[in-house]
Every structure is written in C-alpha cells, then in structure tokens.
C-alpha cells in the first residue's frame, strides 16, 4: 500500500474544497425602495443575520438583503423586531443587538445608530416629534419594563416611562399612545394609555389575556387577545375587545371558542382581519359575532402558523418562518385568498412595512 500517496491525496482534497465555497458576486441596489413593501426578516437569534427584503406594489420587482447591499460595511444586527417610519427615515429595532438602526426609508442609506438606553427593545411608534420604543428589560424581572422616549434630533434616549410587564405593540392616535402588554415572558392583559405631553402613563385598560395586536379606527381601539394556550396549564379564551377612546372604556368583547387563539389583527377598508393558526378570517367592524368560516387557509402553501401578516393595497401579505433556521417565505394573496405570488426571503419574515 502506498500510504504516502493516499495521505497527500487526502490533504490536497481538503484544500481543494476550500476553493468551492466562494460566494457569488452580489447584486446591485435598486436605488429607491419606494412604491412597495419592505419586509423585515428577523434572522436567527444569535445569528446576527437580520435583513430587509423589498417587493414592489406591482409585485414585479423583488430583492433580498437590501440593507447589506446599500450599506455593505454595516451589519444590520441580531433579531430585528420592528420598523417605524418617521418623515424620511426608517427606524429598525433590533432586539438581540439592543439597538436601533436609522436609515433613509427610500434609499436605505445608513444615517445613525442608537445603541444605548435600550434593553430588549420590541416595537416603535412616533408622537409629537418623539420616538417611543417598548422594552422588556430583563426577562427574569417583571418590574423593569419601560418605554424609551427617543429624541429624534440627537438620536438618544431622552427619558423612560416605567410600565407593566411585557409592553409589546404600540400605536399612536391623537397624540396618545396605546401599548399592548402581551406579557413578555409572562402573560399580560392590559393596555397602557400614554400621555405624550407629560410622557407618563395616563390610565390602564384591562382587556383579555395576551393582547397581541391592536388597531384604531374611527375613535375605537380594536384589540385581539390571544388568550393563554392550553400548554400553559390554565387555558383562557381568545377575545376581540373594542374600546371607545373618548372615555377609554371597553364597549364590547367577543369571545373565541376554547382552543382558538387568534392573532394578527389588521383593519383595512373598514374590514377587520385576523388569523387563527393557518387560517385567515375577515369580518366587519360592527360584527357582534365571529365569522363561522375562514376567508381562506394557507395550509395549501404549507404555512404552519402565520408568522407575520398585513393587508394593504387590496392584497394580503403572509410571512412564513418555515423552520426558523432556513430562509423564510412570503405569500401574497388577493382579498379573496387567491395566491398572487410567493417569494423566498430572509430568515423569519417578521413584518411588512409599506413604503
């Protein structure tokens, strides 16, 4: 046996492998990423591969990894959670990196970074020329959750507002902020109302368990509460709660059947949409009972639970996290549930932001 030959072959073979892994040459940026939707891909936790994708309104132009294409020397970060638009800027909230990357919302050119004063940041909203970011603080603490108030001139956290555990989604209406306490690592059941003149909590409204999405329409706040899942050991009902904002009182509550845990509330053209598992439902704002049948289901596309959801421009957008490790998929449907297109995006498509 000629061992020498075999071993040299082995070594040479392993170095040949080296040359097979060169990356393909990158695409070039499109220029302006308007008249379309920015898709936020969360990336794997710890993997630092948050990214943005773009799909034009006519569904004909699509590009992945657009932040990196425009800003090759900047890493977007780890576990992106939300994007907020304010004037010409987009604020990308990165939960894992504890930072906000500020970019031009159209060209995506990098503008600034806010990397101090945040702790487990989640969602962002704007009021009275200030930014408001929900923060969980440490997961193990129920008392260190806060809203960070951003000075948008200096790009710093100017003050914080202490709130109940697990502040998640946040929306602005009439210079007031409504914060849904889905509960962080626990389970919340309140909405905080924040006065943006004094930057204090004005009042708290109790809703169902785990308020995971909220929308305002014509003076009413609509809140979808997922309820606690069966695996928590104390399952509670999902609820659709309607609140009159003039006096912050609950005017109606519709319970979901046991075992159904809704999420992804969207209101578009006076129709209310939500999802349960892989099914999409549509109803009216004035309905007093839930629709008995889904609008359509995504099971045909193999979507295992709708990860992200939006209704805009007469289209329904659905993000599928697939296995949370591989690149995700987005599906675009007509309002009646006909599949118009699908695209492979980055890892864990977490949100759609229409630009």
């Amino acid at each position: 046996m000629n061992f020498k030959k075999l071993f040299f072959a082995t070594i040479i073979g392993s170095f040949l492998f080296t040359s097979c892994t060169d990356d393909d040459s990158p695409e070039t940026p499109l220029g302006d990423y308007d008249n379309g939707v920015l898709i936020l891909n969360q990336g794997g936790f710890g993997n630092g591969n948050a990214s943005l994708s773009y799909l034009s309104n006519d569904l004909n132009t699509f590009q992945n990894n657009i932040f990196a294409l425009v800003n090759p020397t900047v890493t977007l970060g780890d576990t992106s959670q939300d994007v907020g638009f304010f004037n010409n800027l987009a604020y990308v909230v990165l939960n894992g990196s504890n930072k906000i990357e500020i970019i031009n919302r159209y060209t995506l050119a990098h503008v600034a970074t806010i990397s101090t004063g945040l702790s487990n940041p989640r969602y962002i909203e704007f009021a009275r020329g200030k930014g408001y970011v929900t923060n969980w603080g440490n997961g193990g603490s129920t008392s260190d959750d806060f809203i960070a108030v951003l000075n948008l001139t200096t790009n710093t956290v100017s003050t914080t507002i202490s709130v109940a555990e697990g502040p998640e989604r946040i929306i602005e209406e009439n210079d007031k902020l409504y914060v849904a306490h889905a509960g962080g690592y626990g389970y919340g059941n309140t909405i905080s109302v924040i006065n943006t003149t004094t930057d204090t909590v004005q009042t708290t409204i109790t809703v169902g368990d785990v308020p995971n999405s909220l929308e305002e329409e014509d003076g009413y706040l609509y809140v979808i509460c997922g309820g606690k899942a069966a695996w928590t050991g104390t399952e509670t009902l999902g609820k659709l709660v309607k609140i009159r904002l003039s006096n912050n009182t609950v005017t109606s509550t519709i319970d979901f059947p046991i075992g159904q845990h809704p999420s992804n509330l969207e209101i578009e053209d006076n129709r209310l949409y939500y999802t349960v598992d892989s099914d999409i439902y549509k109803t009216t704002l004035s309905a007093t009972t839930l629709p008995t049948a889904e609008l359509f289901s995504t099971t045909e596309q193999g979507v295992y639970g709708v990860y992200s959801f939006a209704v805009e421009n007469n289209k329904i957008f659905i993000g599928d996290a697939v296995d949370y490790s591989s690149n995700g998929k987005i599906y675009v449907y007509s309002l009646t549930g006909d599949l118009l297109t699908d695209k492979t995006v980055g890892v864990i498509p977490a949100g759609f932001y229409f630009n």
């Binding site: 071993f7 082995t10 080296t18 997961g139 591989s326």
Partner: protein, 607 residues
C-alpha cells in the same frame, strides 16, 4: 487561548493507536475502572491520548480532542459552551465516560467539553463508533473515556505546570501521586482563568464579557485489602464561572455558573476465573444562568444521579470471556424551568468475547433497559477482529445504539414532551489498521442510519416542542497516521495526521446537518534533539452550514500553532508557543470569532 492546542506536536508523538490487543490478564498493579474499554473494545477503533500528551495540551478537553481527532467542535467563542460532532452526529450523540460511568448531562444530554479539564486524567481514550450496548445513551458517534489509573507500587511524584499567555490567561495544574503496594492516592487541582478579551480580527470590536475562570479538583484513592480484594474511591468537583461572550452583532451581559460533582466507590474481587465488581456512584450537576450579571435573579437546573452497578466477569474457557452487568440508576431532575421529575432506569448487559483462533476474535454485546419514562429498544453490537498479517488487522462492527430523551426534552416547562422515544441508530463500520515499527495507520469507513432524531420545533401555537422527527444518515471515512522515527542518535521525528470525510444527511430534506464539516484534518510535526523540542500543529476545518436549508454557512479555516520546549534543569522545562501563527480569522459558531495570533509561556516542574 485555552482552546488552542499548545503542545500538540510533542504530544502527538506519544499518541498511539492501540491495535487489536488480545489481553485477558487482569493487570492488578495498574487499575482502571472502565474494564469494558480494555476487554470489550477489541473490534473498535481506539485512540489513546496518554498523560504525557495531556500534559502538553491545552487545559480543556475541547482543545485536546480538537487537535488530536476528527471530532468537530462547535464553540460559542473561546472557552464558552463547546459541543462535539463525532462521525457527523449531534452533540448528544457522543458519550463521555468518566472511570466507566456515563457523565453526559441528564438535563441536556451532552457534555460541555470546556467544563472538563483534561489534566485531571491519566488518559483520555477515543472509542469511535457505536457503544450503547456497553455504555448506554449517547454512544452513537462514539465515546470519550476519561480514566484515572491507580498504581500499587511505591511512588511519590509532584507535578506542577504553570502557563501564562495573551489575554491574561492563566493555567495552573498541580498533581500529587503517592502510593505504596497497599495504598494508592492521586490528588490533582486545576485552575484556569482568562480575561478572554481578544480583538475580533478585521473589526474594531473585541470579545466583550467573555472572561472565565474555573477550578477542578480530583481525589482518587485505592486500597488493596489483599491480593484479591480492592477498594477504590474516585472523587471530583468542577466549579466554573463564565461570562457568556457577546457576538459580532449582539452585546451580552450574562454569566453562567457550573457546579458538578462526581463520586464513585468501587469494590473489586478477583477470584480464579471470575471478577466481581460493585460500583456505587453519585453524580450531581447544576447550572445557574444570570441573564444580567448585575442582577441577582437567575434560572437554574440541577440533577442528582445515584447508580448501583454490579459487574461480573467470567473466564469461561481460555478463549471465551463473559461479562454481565446489571445497573440501576435513579435520577432526580429539577430547576426553574423544569418539571421536577424522577427517572429510574434498570439495565442489563451481557457481553461475550470469543478468541476463535489466534488471528480471529469476535465480540457480542446485548443491552436492554427498562424505564417507565419512555420505550427502550434492545441494543446490540457484534464485532470482529481479524489479523490478516502480523502488521495488518481488519475489524468490522454492526451495532444498534440510542440516545435517550433528556430531562429538558421530556419535562421542560413549557414545551417538554413526555411522549418522546429514544433516538436510535443502526451502525456499520469497517476498520483497516496497519502497524509497523515506525508507523500506525488506520482507515475506517462508517455508516450510521439514525431515526427518531429529537428536534425542537414550533407547533402551530408557536410553542417550541421536541418531537421525534428526522431520519439522518451519516457516513464517511476516518483516517489516522502516526509516524515516529529516530533519525540519528538523539534526533527524534514524529508526525501525526488525522483526516475525516463526513456526510450527515437529513433524509427528509436531503440537506447536510448544520455544524458538521465535510472535511476535517489535523496534522502535527515534532522534532526533538536532546533537551530541545520544536513542534507545529495544524487544524483544518471545512466549511459548515449554519441553517437547515444549507443557505448560510461558515467558511473553512486553517489554524497553525508552533512552539518550542527546552529542558532547563533535570526537573524543569520551559516552553513558548505562538498560537494561530497566520492570524487566521475564523469562527466555529456564526458571529463568534476566535482570537488571532497569540502567545503562551509555560513552565513545568516534576519532582
């Protein structure tokens, strides 16, 4: 720096593959507890890294094995959590056996190889391939055996090793061996600490919050009651504190504490043809995870395991050795996220070795476990050893192995799935070994068909739960070569090479498992002249995929270390080493860079 191999080359010199030993004699003056490793591993591919290799290696077991085997290690940055992939399998599919006892975590099923200090052992043996029939859960890719040898002869030896290197890295080992014909004692203590604040190459960042320190101590005692009866006690503690490093994209403020204890009491009776051995073991593991090092709250997990084992070895004829083991283990697992649960496992093992002719032997192993917590399959192993010529031996094995669900898999709150079954693997390997005066050469082909792989996936409610899902085939080739030659008087040349080619394919998706390189190569050259030794070691890791769709990957890398050792006095040696000589920028886990070029000074003292 703890992970880089320091003195690899010099060590490698001493590295040898044990070839087809047909020993059936009880060695009464040097005793290891893991008798099956000696007596029922004749058909396996075995690599022994002895104490002189260990003494020259870096502190952690990760470093020792990374530079001396084809096992791939995935480390969350230098000194952080380290998990192996052996023959393309997962971290839970490599068993670590301490003096004959399986010490993989009951909580997560794997051993963190950066919580094992190799200096506490007299030898570390790599037993490649399936060994579940003997060693139980996790011995699918193979098993790593940590052995303490008790000597019954008059001896008194002090050893002190001090190392200091870049990033304020300090490693102190002290060992005392004192023995007589009746009494044997070993004491060792290892202390490691590092600021671990190395610069990330090609960035303006450094490794923040990566400091670590650990202390481990070992006390092993043997008492020869009379020529036929021995009593032994092995005892070990490990106390570690690590701050978990941030990544390129995410800062970290967490820290993690490990506290592990292992105790084993053993009584052995050697009769004419029979050896009886009773072992009582008590193992504890616990961790505390502080997500914010400045806060007092933490999450934790603990397990306590008591084992009673009866091992009966019987020499039926000159040619046939029988061994039966019955084993009862009782484990309690609890923690902040764990449903407090007790698991009892009863197992019975029968082993037979038959030396059919002087050139040919075979071994049969059978195991059955009974537990209330999951269904347990029959496990077996059948292997042959055939010496074709004096220097050429072939071995072949077929075995069925398993990995039981862990406490986390079964009882994690929320998500644990009490209905899991063990992962099981059917395995074949074929080993060629050539041994000549200067050379030991091994080529092994292996094939593993693994089913019911446990993986955590989100269900439709978004709850992550483990399920028995994937089918994975792993196959490939391992080769090793060691060469040692006295060239002129006082000149000694030693070469060592390991290469592994591994395919690990998910049968449902056709994709390679993440963090399994197709290629891994280690090599080393050492040259010794009188009191001077110079050496170079090299590690090549092929690219690994980091996402299930094989879209994302980490690129391949080469790390070269080189150093010199000089015997300054009769009892003292001084050394200097440059690690990562070529300043290679590399990661073994995505976003977690390893250090560039760094330096290490060492001083050894034996008396």
């Amino acid at each position: 720096m703890t992970l880089k191999n320091r003195f690899l080359l010099f060590l490698l010199l001493l590295c040898q593959t044990i070839v087809a030993q047909n020993d059936t004699i009880v060695l009464k003056d040097v005793i290891i507890s893991d008798t099956q490793l000696k007596k029922f591993s004749n058909t396996k591919s075995i690599t022994q890294l002895n104490d002189s290799i260990i003494a020259k290696s870096n502190a952690s077991l990760t470093s020792l094995l990374n530079f001396n085997s084809t096992i791939y290690f995935k480390e969350n940055g230098l000194g952080m959590v380290s998990s192996p992939s052996f023959r393309g399998t997962t971290a839970q599919q490599t068993a670590v056996i301490w003096n004959g006892i399986n010490i993989n975590s009951q909580l997560n099923g794997q051993t963190d190889f950066n919580t094992i200090n190799s200096a506490n052992y007299n030898d570390v043996t790599i037993r490649a391939g399936g060994g579940s029939a003997i060693y139980g859960s996790s011995a699918i890719g193979g098993s790593i055996h940590l052995n303490n040898k008790l000597h019954f002869e008059k001896a008194f030896l002090n050893q002190l090793q001090m190392r200091y290197g870049s990033f304020n890295t300090l490693n102190l080992n002290y060992a005392l061996n004192a023995s007589t014909e009746r009494l044997s004692s070993q004491f060792s203590i290892v202390r490691n600490s590092s600021d671990n604040d190395y610069k990330y190459l090609n960035t303006n960042q450094k490794n923040e919050n990566g400091q670590f320190e650990n202390t481990s101590a070992n006390l092993n005692l043997g008492f020869k009651i009379n020529a036929k009866n021995y009593l032994k006690l092995y005892s070990q503690v490990f106390d570690g504190l690590r701050h978990f490093s941030g990544t390129l994209a995410a800062p970290s403020k967490s820290k993690y504490e490990d506290w592990n204890t292992r105790n084993l009491l053993e009584f052995t009776n050697y009769a004419n043809k029979a050896t009886s051995n009773i072992r009582l073991a008590f193992l504890t593991e616990s961790y505390k995870y502080f997500e914010d090092k400045n806060q007092s709250f933490y999450s934790y997990g603990k397990s306590e395991t008591a084992i009673v084992k009866y091992d009966f070895l019987y020499q039926l004829t000159d040619k046939i050795t029988l061994n039966s083991l019955v084993d009862y283990s009782h484990t309690k697992g609890f923690g902040s996220d764990l449903k407090s649960t007790t698991r009892e496992i009863f197992s019975a093992v029968v082993l037979m070795k038959h030396q059919l002719t002087t050139d040919f032997l075979y071994e049969i192993n059978l195991r059955k476990e009974v537990t209330t917590n999951y269904k347990s399959p029959y496990l077996f192993s059948f292997g042959t050893n055939y010496a074709l010529t004096k220097s050429y031996t072939i071995k072949a094995n077929v075995s069925k192995n398993f990995r039981i669900p862990t406490f986390n898999d079964l009882y994690w709150q929320q998500g644990g799935n009490p209905n899991l079954n063990p992962e099981s693997a059917l395995q074949l390997d074929f080993i060629n070994e050539v041994t000549t005066k200067h050379l030991v050469f091994n080529v092994t082909g292996f094939y593993n068909k693994i089913k019911d792989m446990i993986s955590w996936k989100p269900n439709s409610n978004g709850l992550w739960q483990p399920i028995n899902t994937n089918r994975v085939n792993t196959y490939g080739i391992e080769t090793s070569l060691s060469y040692k030659k006295q060239i002129l008087q006082n000149h000694l040349l030693q070469l060592n090479l390991n290469y592994g080619y591994t395919i690990s394919e998910n049968q449902d998706t056709g994709k390679q498992l993440i963090y399994v390189p197709q290629h891994k190569l280690t090599s080393s050259v050492a040259y010794n002249y009188k009191k001077l030794t110079v050496f170079t070691t090299h590690l090549f890791n092929g690219a690994v995929f980091t996402s299930l769709d094989n879209y994302y990957r980490l690129k391949e890398y080469n790390v070269v270390n080189t150093g010199v050792d000089y015997q300054i006095f009769k009892h003292a040696q001084l050394g200097f080493q440059v690690q990562n000589v070529f300043n290679e920028s590399y990661q073994t886990v995505i976003q977690r860079p390893f250090p560039g070029r760094n330096y290490l000074l060492n001083f050894n003292f034996n008396l």
